[in-house]
């Protein structure tokens, strides 16, 4: 395909998507309400849209509702990724106290129920005498991803900006990728996912992962729709201790929201490592070792709700004795 063709196609795709999204939300009412309640004045700038019936309609741009989670790129672009970027994450284990704000922020943004943790915090103890530490873990967006290698329909794919995403409209739910991911990252929609109606009515995009689809696989996606708008993933924003640094390897900068640092310098100075490097998966997530920790590990344990406490009981009790 020639470049113009791609552009043309993606523009058409976008128009269609936008139109459908607008009409869909209009149909369900909730977002249309919020729009009309503000009673915006017409600007006179009109935008041409393609209605689902295939007619071109002109709408004043003021009435166009910019909406979160709206698919703003074509399917093709969602597969290719953001040109020129190479996303990385650095996780500072010395600062994590299992505050779990990242988890809730992630679940909220992606409309996932409480049991579904794309991002989990594990309590890891590397050796018998070693001290346990909190270990936040999401998808590592591996550069040599075993999950992508095994997908029979190319539903999970590697983009040029480094992200590994899933097309839930293509996934056949064979779960081969779940068996292949050595980091137990992926989760499956065993039952019909419960999501608000306006989310259910969204036009699906691999970049937003919404609406979730039953019988398919999903996982942390590094929030590419936010990245397109220059926003950080919710986990990075939500962490009170600045554990997560997110950024672009090409620009060599990462930020945790408070400070922006050089990626290469950071991983050099703090002796960063990648989890289970020996597997050859080449993760795009780096860990800074839990040295000189800011919090005793108990801080993240004592105030947990019982059911979550249960998860770490073995290790904590072992530690005490």
């Amino acid at each position: 395909m020639k470049q113009e063709e791609i552009n043309d196609k993606s523009r058409r795709d976008f128009l269609k998507t936008a139109a459908i999204a607008t009409l869909a939300t209009a149909a369900c009412g909730s977002l249309a309400c919020s729009c009309s309640s503000k009673q915006k004045a017409a600007t006179g700038n009109t935008v041409k849209l393609l209605s689902p019936e295939g007619e071109i309609v002109e709408i004043d741009s003021a009435y166009l509702n910019h909406q979160e989670h709206m698919a703003i790129v074509s399917k093709l672009e969602a597969r290719q990724g953001i040109a020129g970027k190479k996303f990385v994450m650095v996780v500072d284990l010395a600062r994590c106290k299992n505050a779990r704000k990242c988890i809730t922020a992630c679940q909220k943004w992606h409309y996932r129920p409480e049991e579904t943790e794309w991002l989990t915090v594990k309590l890891i103890k590397d050796s018998d005498k070693g001290a346990p530490y909190w270990f936040p873990k999401q998808c590592f967006h591996c550069d040599n991803p075993p999950c992508v290698k095994v997908c029979p329909v190319d539903a999970t794919f590697k983009r040029q900006d480094g992200l590994v995403l899933i097309d839930n409209e293509r996934c056949i739910g064979c779960k081969f990728c779940m068996a292949a991911c050595p980091y137990s990252t992926r989760v499956f929609n065993w039952n019909e996912p419960e999501q608000p109606l306006d989310i259910k009515n969204l036009v699906y995009s691999a970049e937003t992962g919404l609406p979730a689809k039953v019988g398919t696989v999903e996982k942390c996606d590094f929030c590419p729709d936010r990245a397109r708008e220059g926003l950080l993933p919710p986990c990075v924003e939500a962490c009170p201790n600045g554990v997560f640094y997110f950024g672009d390897e090409n620009e060599d900068t990462v930020t945790n929201g408070d400070e922006t640092v050089s990626f290469s310098q950071l991983i050099k100075d703090r002796a960063a490592y990648r989890y289970m490097e020996e597997l050859g998966t080449k993760p795009r997530v780096y860990y800074l070792p839990p040295k000189d920790r800011q919090f005793p590990v108990e801080r993240g344990y004592e105030d947990l709700p019982e059911n979550i406490k249960e998860r770490f009981k073995d290790i904590m009790e072992e530690k005490k004795s």
Binding site: C151, I172, W190, N191, T216, F312
Partner: protein, 451 residues
């Protein structure tokens, strides 16, 4: 089709089996159908409510369905290899049992893949396998392999059947019109002319030559679905040959059991002779030794190397509070028992050989379970999950119901097929006599005229 005396006798002897659908056949058919209906209900639940009704969860993503898939597909591959070898090497005693092996091949290659469909979250999207195929995936290899294999084995069975269809056509069987018409159509106008004969033989030989390596390839590809992942207990170079041998071994067991059942049911003692049981028993024994050797190598190297994850899986397998008893059963009944039964002359009787074969087939099913589930219960990162069903896999009733429905389908196909074609091929017997005169002498002892 002209038949010689011996052949004619074999045909007349089995004639009632394909002419009448007796009370017993009806009983079993209905019995199997009932199971299938129960399975159908379970399937309905699974579709309506989602895969949440199964015991599979995010850690153990594959369960009984995959176990059954490997089990049936294994039987199928074995059938093709056994039938292919018996055919190619013109093994004189092999003639009467080739059909059984081929039936086994076809039926299980139909039943097996159904379990994959049950396991897939979105089987409404299966066409994606063909519109977005990704050749790098072992799953795609498997799809291609099984489809090729299916076509091959259907042709292989059909080629072997053409002559028999001609016999049934000419025999003026007392059967309904549609059945006669079907025989007529399926026999493709075969009259036993010299050129027809030659073509048929050539195609059969070719198919046999294709089917044997194909089964080995396909069986290895199946193993690679597991071997290609980075999981402890799966990621092993031995997996290809291990699966091939396991398939052959379990299939050999199923063949023995099927022989025993038909021998009893249709009184085929003159065709499935004691000698057949002994010979297949010997084959089974050799395979048992090979399988035992592979199993030992697999466990021993993992245990001795004692890498963290490998030893965790091994520990689970041998811990009595986890899978210890099952491992014991799988290895005693699955390896030791057949060897002992066949090795000791006293116990080398058709009944006992069949019994041990039956036990072994069950043990090999368990063995497949032990390959799949404990590994999936051992992820590299600690699970730290408090939801019991996520930590440990327990099959739910819909999964069991569908498993039994699968077995019922397998048996139903056998019942129906044995009412459509003779279990012992009639025209096949002739070739043995004309082309292998010397072999005839050895066989003579067994060929007592049917009463």
């Amino acid at each position: 089709m002209e038949l010689n005396t011996y052949q004619q006798q074999a045909f007349e002897y089995q004639r009632p089996n394909i002419e009448k659908f007796g009370k017993r056949a009806w009983f079993w058919t209905i019995f199997y159908l009932l199971w299938i209906v129960v399975g159908g209900y379970a399937l309905y639940l699974q579709i309506a409510k989602g895969h949440g009704v199964t015991g599979m969860r995010d850690n153990v993503v594959w369960g009984l369905f995959i176990v059954n898939f490997i089990f049936f597909i294994g039987i199928s591959y074995a059938g093709a290899i056994i039938a292919g070898l018996l055919h190619l090497f013109r093994v004189p005693w092999g003639k009467p049992i080739i059909r059984l092996a081929q039936m086994m091949t076809i039926i299980s290659v139909v039943v097996g893949p159904v379990f994959i469909l049950l396991c897939v979250g979105r089987f409404d999207r299966l066409h994606h396998l063909f519109i977005y195929p990704r050749l790098q995936s072992p799953m795609t290899w498997d799809v291609l392999a099984i489809l090729t294999y299916f076509v091959g084995s259907v042709l292989f069975l059909y080629m072997a059947l053409i002559k028999d269809f001609a016999v049934y056509r000419d025999a003026k069987l007392n059967v309904p019109k549609w059945k006669q018409k079907l025989y007529n159509a399926l026999s493709l106008g075969y009259r036993g002319g010299a050129s027809q004969k030659r073509h048929l033989i050539v195609s059969q030989n070719l198919l046999a030559i294709i089917m044997i390596p194909l089964s080995i390839i396909v069986s290895s590809i199946l193993s690679w679905i597991f071997g290609m992942t980075l999981r402890p207990g799966w990621h092993s170079t031995i997996f290809g040959p291990y699966f091939v041998l396991g398939a052959l071994y379990s299939g050999c067991g199923v063949l023995i059991v099927a022989m025993w059942v038909y021998r009893k049911m249709y009184r085929l003692e003159n065709y499935f002779t004691n000698r057949h049981f002994t010979y297949l028993g010997y084959i089974m024994m050799v395979l048992a030794a090979g399988y035992g050797y592979f199993t030992f190598s697999e466990y021993f190297t993992s245990w001795f190397g004692s890498e963290r994850w490998d030893s965790e899986v091994i520990h689970k397998l041998f811990d009595p509070s986890e899978y210890g008893w099952w491992t014991l059963f799988a290895n005693l009944a699955g390896i030791l028992l057949p060897i002992l039964i066949v090795a000791i002359p006293k116990t080398r009787t058709p009944g006992l050989i069949s019994l041990s074969a039956f036990m072994m087939v069950m043990a090999l099913w368990v063995k497949r379970y032990l390959i799949i589930v404990p590994t999936l219960e051992t992820p590299l990162l600690p699970m730290q999950d408090t939801r019991a069903e996520y930590v440990k896999y327990t099959a739910t009733w819909p999964e069991w119901a569908l498993t039994f429905a699968g077995i019922a389908t397998f048996l139903l196909f056998f019942t129906l097929m044995s009412k459509f074609v003779t279990v012992v091929p009639v025209s096949g017997l002739e070739e043995t006599r004309t082309q292998h005169e010397q072999a005839q002498d050895i066989l003579k002892k067994d060929k007592v005229q049917p009463a």
